[in-house]
Amino acid sequence: MRIVVDLNRCQGYAQCVFFAPDLFELHGEEALLYDPAVPEERLEAVRQAAAACPVQAILVGEEVSSRVR
């Protein structure tokens, strides 16, 4: 699974950083850095992070490669 964060929407509330600090981090005061690749065992934490985002900026989904023949 992969994530992409709409950083136009992101306002640095950092709820995702609390749920999955291994995948999301603030770089300075409010610039979000994240690892787009979600390990299977962290999927639940990432789903919680996405649900908790006050501006709903996190999209979790399957990669397109899973659908390319």
Binding site: R2, D6, L7, G28, D35, V60
Partner: protein, 457 residues
């Protein structure tokens, strides 16, 4: 009629962010026909912003940036093959492998590529990079892992500045050359470019402004060793990153009869392409970096945006309009937005900063390193840029959308002392830039030379 538009054959040329989001939206809109997405890169759609940030910092693998789907677009993906031509009469996309794909409706989303170093032989030296694709970023990240003695970054726009930032964060020495007076001047104007200048020097970038690189040198065995600058000085480096802006991928449309050229493919507010006579088509649509479209907030000038957010929004509008008849179609009116993170700061923008004559620092200050700069043109607010104050951006977006008077009324909290004193926004003449800003207004205003044309030869 509407049933017809939900059937048939749709081809999307361009398999990046705009192509993917358009494909998903077509299915959401009820399109049940055949959908083919063509991409020249062998990779499925991936996200480019992390390439100059997480990937160069070593915090994410270049192979890990594949875009997640909002839903499965149930498309046939034709990846690793370039579209080489378009026949709008026979309604066929010609592919470089000789095949042709018939369509009923077509979406052009071919985006841009990195502008290459002008001398092909110098540009081919081992150690000279551009950063646009996942392959570029993966190779550069590997070289950075090896601990180069110095990286030369050519061009101080957002891409070049982010690359310089990533290198400095990894402790690598960096020289950055910018043809303008300071970094980011093309996108943000003179006032904030002075801040960017100080920021880069504070973080140890060897910044050379007002100069150009005149030649890249090799060691005689094809390996890059350094560069010569227009002021007569030389820079020794193991790696050069050419960050001189982007070139729009429109060459394949040269014989198509569409209004396509170096500034993009012109389309109307509904994303329908214009032909070369300025007549709007109804079966060819455009979205993303390759498009040029009129924007009512900016005097209906044709606008080209190299922005992630525009690719998403315009793709959704284009897809909606491809699957719905005239009266149900929507315009693409969203206000341009972008972000950049560099040197630990979050820089965000709404509106078009270069469409301005004055600005005020409405909140914060240059000294604090956190601020809101509000840009105005002829007495109305046209843009706002925040540095580490992103939460304010929505407020200013509303002021831009409602054409609120400039300077802004004293409504915001944390108002700076400078908020009542507009200063000249000092937007440079694009002719002096070495690379275009990421927003380009390509229309004509009699009092502003936004475009200059020189005869060749």
């Amino acid at each position: 009629m509407s049933d017809d538009l939900r059937e048939g054959r749709i081809v999307i040329v361009g398999a990046s962010l705009a192509g993917l989001r358009a494909a998903e939206t077509l299915r959401e809109e009820g399109f049940t026909g055949s959908l083919t997405v063509v991409g020249d890169e062998p990779h499925p759609p991936y996200d480019r912003p992390p390439l100059t940030k997480q990937v160069l910092l070593g915090k994410a693998a270049a192979t890990a940036v594949g875009l997640p789907m909002r839903r499965d677009p149930e498309a046939e993906w034709r990846l690793g093959v370039r579209a080489s031509g378009l026949d709008t009469v026979e309604k066929q996309v010609l592919l470089a492998d000789g095949e042709s794909l018939p369509y009923d409706r077509l979406l052009i989303a071919t985006g841009t590529r990195a502008r290459p170093w002008p001398d092909a032989e110098q540009g081919a030296l081992d150690g000279v990079f551009t950063v646009r694709t996942v392959d570029d970023a993966g190779r550069l990240a590997e070289r950075l892992d090896a601990g180069p003695s110095r990286v030369l970054v050519i061009g101080g726009g957002f891409t070049g500045s982010e690359i310089a930032s990533a290198c400095r964060e990894r402790g690598i020495e960096v020289t950055l050359t910018e043809r303008g007076a300071a970094p980011l001047v093309g996108a943000l104007g003179g006032v904030l470019s002075i801040f960017a200048d100080r920021l880069q020097r504070h973080h140890g970038v060897d910044l050379r402004c007002g100069v150009t690189v005149t030649a890249l040198r090799g060691d005689g065995h094809g390996r890059f060793t350094g560069a010569e600058l227009s002021d007569g000085s030389q820079v020794e480096a193991d790696i050069a990153v050419v960050a001189l802006g982007a070139v729009r991928n429109t060459e394949w449309l040269a014989d198509s009869g569409l209004a396509a050229g170096p500034r993009g493919v012109a389309c109307d507010a509904g994303c329908r392409a214009f032909d070369m006579y300025g007549i709007v088509t109804d079966d060819v649509f455009v979205a993303g970096d390759v498009s040029r479209f009129p924007h009512p907030l900016y005097e209906y000038q044709m606008m080209s945006l190299e922005h992630w957010g525009n690719a998403v929004e315009q793709a959704k509008v284009a897809a909606h309009n491809m699957a719905n008849p005239g009266p149900r179609r929507r315009p693409h009116l969203s206000v341009p937005t972008f972000w950049s993170s560099q040197f630990g700061l979050n820089i965000k923008s709404v509106g078009v900063p270069t469409f301005s004559d004055h600005l005020v620092i409405a909140q914060g200050s240059l000294e604090q390193g956190r601020l809101v700069a509000v840009y105005g043109y002829r007495g109305r607010i046209t843009a706002a840029v925040t540095i580490n104050m992103a939460k304010w951006l929505e407020y200013y977006r509303h002021l831009i959308e409602t054409a609120a008077p400039f300077p802004p009324a004293p409504e915001a909290a944390d108002r700076s002392a400078a908020a009542s004193f507009p200063i000249h926004s000092d937007v440079p003449d694009p002719a002096v830039l070495s690379h275009g800003p990421t927003v380009t207004l390509t229309g004509h205003l009699p009092d502003r030379r936004l475009t200059r044309v020189w005869p060749t030869g």
